[in-house]
Subunit: 335 residues, 2 copies
């Protein structure tokens, strides 16, 4: 665990609260208002009161449709007609394919060869056209650039894009609208689109709210970037959390440096155990990347170690956790 | 498939609507009001509008707490103090152990040796004391009688008991309160507690409503009993739907003969495919016994073959499906 350094200077102007509200208005007619669930059983285990924002029930099975819908619905007809290209480990690709289908334009998705088969099928089910790359960030970028050059399509980066970030910000916005008095919010971090959006919404709505990113130790670039104050890269990762194998971009790094409180690292074993526990106790399917956001809170004493201020109601801390997705390959379960 | 014969004579006086309402009032403070979920994806596959009553989210992970709570909360203090004994393949046992713990009295659960480990752990987690029997109905009955003789505990049969039936009837009651204009209700059948309760609630609330029981072909005693008009036995079954290995009792048979429209049989492969489809598309955990209730509706043309009356709104049929439980042994998945 590490305390993030304070922001020194911003290379980017962070999206405004107004931009988040505009994004929310734009996408609300198209997406689900996902439920916020509780679990007596998990509360007892952790000594907390959890509020799980269930974007595993979101359209396309993850929060990614929020950003993709905002970015693609924002395009002019002339822009959209060129088609969309994006590199994606899966969920963003499915979301882009879905939103591109709403506009009736082609979606070219560049996926790593090791993406789960279920995520490839999802992209195809929305009409997305897949090009495979090597499972390295370098190869994905090169392949995306090539597809973009060949097709003339507009690149919509999975997270290094303000409209993606403001779209992803709507998940925490909905959570806080429903449970305004939570003490902290936990979200997984990969490229940082969801987490930086979460920071922007949460700090705009509740300046005192603690925001923590959760990251696999096997893909710890955000932890290292925030600890050193220098953007670290991660060329590849084999973490089971297949949605968290990307690394921060300058834009998301700048937002997280300014607003994030901490990054918590979790082991592969903790991810698997957390996923299984949620399946067993809550009877809902979350994918490994979602389990990363609850895993650090299941360690004995973890909630006390957060040192959250005592609540006026004298009760256990109220913790918001964003369950980012539920797309699991059932043919390759770790248990 | 088979059409159930009309009732000729009743050996038992079926529980009244008033008894169901009393049961509902008795257990409501203790149980969850489970959600009714929809799925655009499953609607498209089947050509129907589904309304899934999600008792997989119910306390103890299945509908069984409805009946167990009603029966055990109805006992006098003197009766309850003797303790409770019951034979159960798992979910009823966990429910009895849970409700007995509310009363602070012992629960003696007789389980077949082949019950899933996760269901045994659940019984133990509520403080239930397990005695294993052979996986035959004869052995379970004999073992229950022996435990009852040794302990002096009160036997609460899993389904051959009016208070269990009126408790289980509250699931369909809640479904119909929420979606009053459904055209048919589907529920799994084993001993018939849930299905006969469903018939009683549904016919009291909507005399024209179709009610269909769904049963594994490998445990088809209800189908054969209703086809022949003579109660058939089933000494053992190895269906993957581990909650559906029991057979009808005279009491549930009498109710079903009078009120049930049809029994639909499903293969093991259909059960597994339906379970996986619900997990993938709805992102919720249902156990194989729950999948039995949706499986026959996923066959091509199945909804049309129901020959339901055309709806006044001109839309696809509205079908209620009771997802009976979500207790799955993740160490022994069939995929």
């Amino acid at each position: 665990m590490s305390t993030a350094p304070q922001a020194e200077s911003k290379t980017f102007l962070a999206p405004t609260w107004e931009a988040i509200c505009e994004a929310h208005a734009r996408i609300t007619p198209r997406i689900h208002r996902t439920p916020v669930l509780t679990s007596h059983s998990l509360n007892t285990i952790a000594g907390a009161r959890f509020f799980f924002k269930c974007d595993n029930f979101q359209k396309t099975g993850s929060f990614k449709i929020r950003g993709a819908a905002n970015a693609i619905l924002s395009l002019s007809d002339v822009e959209a007609a060129r088609g969309i290209v994006t590199p994606s480990s899966g969920n963003h690709g499915a979301a882009v394919a879905c939103a591109a289908a709403w506009r009736g334009v082609p979606a070219y998705i560049v996926m790593p060869k090791n993406a789960p088969a279920v995520k490839c099928r999802a992209v195809e089910s929305y009409g997305g056209r897949i090009t495979f790359s090597e499972p390295t960030i370098t190869s994905r970028q090169e392949t995306s650039a090539r597809v973009q050059a060949e097709t003339g399509a507009i690149l919509i980066h999975p997270y290094d894009n303000d409209r993606i970030i403001t779209g992803q910000a709507t998940s925490a916005k909905e959570l806080l609208e429903e449970i305004p008095d939570i003490d902290a919010v936990f979200a997984p971090v990969s490229g940082g689109g969801l987490l930086s959006g979460t920071c922007l919404s949460a700090k705009a709505m509740r300046a005192d709210l603690r925001i923590l990113g959760c990251e696999p130790a096997r893909a710890d670039d955000a932890y290292r970037s925030l600890a050193t104050g220098v953007l670290q890269s991660l060329d590849s990762s084999d973490t089971i959390a297949d949605g968290l194998r990307a690394s921060l971009a300058p834009r998301t790094f700048a937002i997280l440096r300014g607003l994030l409180d901490r990054v918590l690292l979790v082991s592969e074993e903790e991810i698997i155990a957390a996923m299984r526990l949620v399946w067993e106790r809550m009877k809902i399917i979350i994918e490994p990347s979602s389990a990363v956001a609850i895993a650090p809170l299941l360690r004995p004493g973890a909630v006390a170690e957060l040192n959250l201020p005592a609540r006026a109601d004298g009760g256990a801390p109220k913790l918001g956790v964003i369950f980012s997705g539920g797309n699991v390959d059932f043919s390759a379960l770790p248990f």
